[in-house]
Symmetry: C2
Subunit: 316 residues, 2 copies
């Protein structure tokens, strides 16, 4: 089988989300129509075997995750996803692997009306890059730099699940934690609903404190007061690893792909409404301050203190 | 140095081509404005160390080539390039390498008003994925499927140079051949000028016969008559490898990143005008036929005969 047959067999299926696609897979490039009154949003992420996933991880989870982490970025911009390209580098042609990978990727794409419009298959060490485009009303994109003192700091869902699964390695037998690691759910409905409500948003990929740090740093170097007792932890992680470690992983573990966003006092009521409408936990974990420092407190004691702009080491 | 400092230091420079960019590097995604009356074109290509380039190849040539091969696809669509994202996977942080890579990439981006708006740096086996977006007037994109019997088949520039350099490996001392391999020049001005002139276009990446085969296959399974004596060869390749081998590499070698396009009889005159205007060789090498077969003739003898849709093996 050559690369053209590979693409045709597993990826070039009739798909949802073709509305904007003038020309899809099969030419030198894809051609996409615009929606008046909108701007385009473009995001991209690479997953490398050995760095971002293990060789033994199910192919379906890698296909899902490659798209999900990009959709999470689209959500953090308050945008809707429209199209995706896939660059797949494979050490050899394992048809079963490609089939599982493609089916999971296309299932997620179908759920959010995303058309796979192009890509590239190459031979080499296993890695996956996806680039996803979307649209947002002109001027409406959620940015990192809009947080203001007094904003409530919210997170969606539960944190630290993926990191808890990783920390346990092969010993992890908790479906909920493996699910969080392998099949993160992009918060696209939440992202769109936060347009006009949130002052700022980011998706949690590097870890809550690190990503919140980016928001605070971008927003005139503000600070934050976080109440550790309000951080939504996975009960399975607390049970397996203890409360302290589960909290550490929720603060710094990463790979959550939940949204962290800040909301002015006057609009906090609409978050409760949204929580019910989306059946998604939306928890206020603290407040933006003008202190320039991010404090995490537990029962009045300062657990940790960070200067925003805290950065994870260069390690992908 | 972490990945944020790496990006800031080498890639987040004031750049040309910012006109369309509402929000560039530094948030979850980039935000891009639309030009009324246009559609978007998106292309993507991955270069893997060991498959598409050698470790010893200058970093500058890898940076240049990663963008150039994508711009070549944009040119083949008749579009103008607007933005690019870069996914760079590095085994370790070699600052000098990154500096050389980034400088060459940004120099080429600047030449064609392309803004680098985002990307991802990860640790792993060396590879580079770029995704490039552009615009083309609504309905004007050059496609593969428009060729018609009687069209003249044209190629830009000279063919087989990159393949001749590769074939000689370290023994290659010809600057013109190494230049063709390391620093291909995307034919963006030509691509734009062919809108409304050419019936079809493709860029030559897999090799002339293979890529022309895609055009013929997409265009109702047409055929072609190619005159081998008209194929524009690199004199350096003929001198180093002999005429026969230089011709073989021009027909099937690949990595040319020239355009192959078909033009109806009535418009062939405008190609001569274009050739002079662009100072770029544009050579008619044959004609589209309704035979369903691609013949390459040399002095009346059939050199080779291919059924269009001939495909290169799955090997990146």
């Amino acid at each position: 089988m050559d690369e053209f047959e590979l693409v045709a067999r597993y990826f070039d299926h009739p798909q949802a989300g073709r509305g904007q696609v003038t020309l899809g897979i099969g030419d030198d490039g894809a051609v996409l129509a615009h929606t008046p009154g909108t701007e385009s949003v473009v995001v991209t992420d690479t997953l490398v075997c050995g760095t971002h996933f293990h060789k033994e991880q199910p192919a379906a989870s890698i296909g899902h995750r490659a798209l999900a982490v990009n959709l999470s970025d689209i959500a953090a911009m308050g945008a809707s996803a429209e199209w995706a390209t896939l660059n797949l580098t494979l050490p050899s042609l394992d048809e079963y692997w490609v089939e599982q990978f493609a089916a999971a990727l296309l299932a997620l794409a179908g759920r959010y009306d995303v058309a796979l419009v192009g890509g590239d298959t190459t031979r080499g060490p296993l890695s996956v890059t996806m680039t996803v485009g979307g649209r947002v009303s002109k001027g409406a994109a959620l940015r990192r730099n809009g947080a203001q003192p007094g904003d409530g700091i919210y997170v969606s869902g539960f944190l630290g699940g993926a990191a808890a699964a990783l920390a346990q390695g092969n010993a992890c037998s908790e479906d909920a934690l493996l699910e969080a690691l392998w099949y993160p759910q992009p918060r696209l409905a939440l992202g769109s609903a936060l347009v006009g409500v949130a002052h700022s948003a980011i998706d949690i990929s590097d870890g809550l404190l690190s990503d919140l740090g980016h928001v605070l740093q971008a927003s005139a170097k503000l600070g934050a007061d976080i109440d550790a007792t309000r951080i939504p932890l996975y009960p399975q992680a607390e049970r397996d690893l203890g409360h302290r470690r589960a909290l550490e992983l929720a603060l710094g573990g990463g790979d959550d792909y939940e949204l962290c966003f800040t909301v002015p006092m006057a609009r906090r009521g609409s978050i409760s409404v949204l929580e019910e409408k989306l059946s998604l936990a939306l928890t206020c974990i603290g407040e933006v301050t003008s202190s320039g420092v991010c404090h995490v407190r537990q029962n009045g004691r300062i657990l940790t203190e960070l200067v925003p702009g805290y950065r994870h080491a260069w390690s992908g």
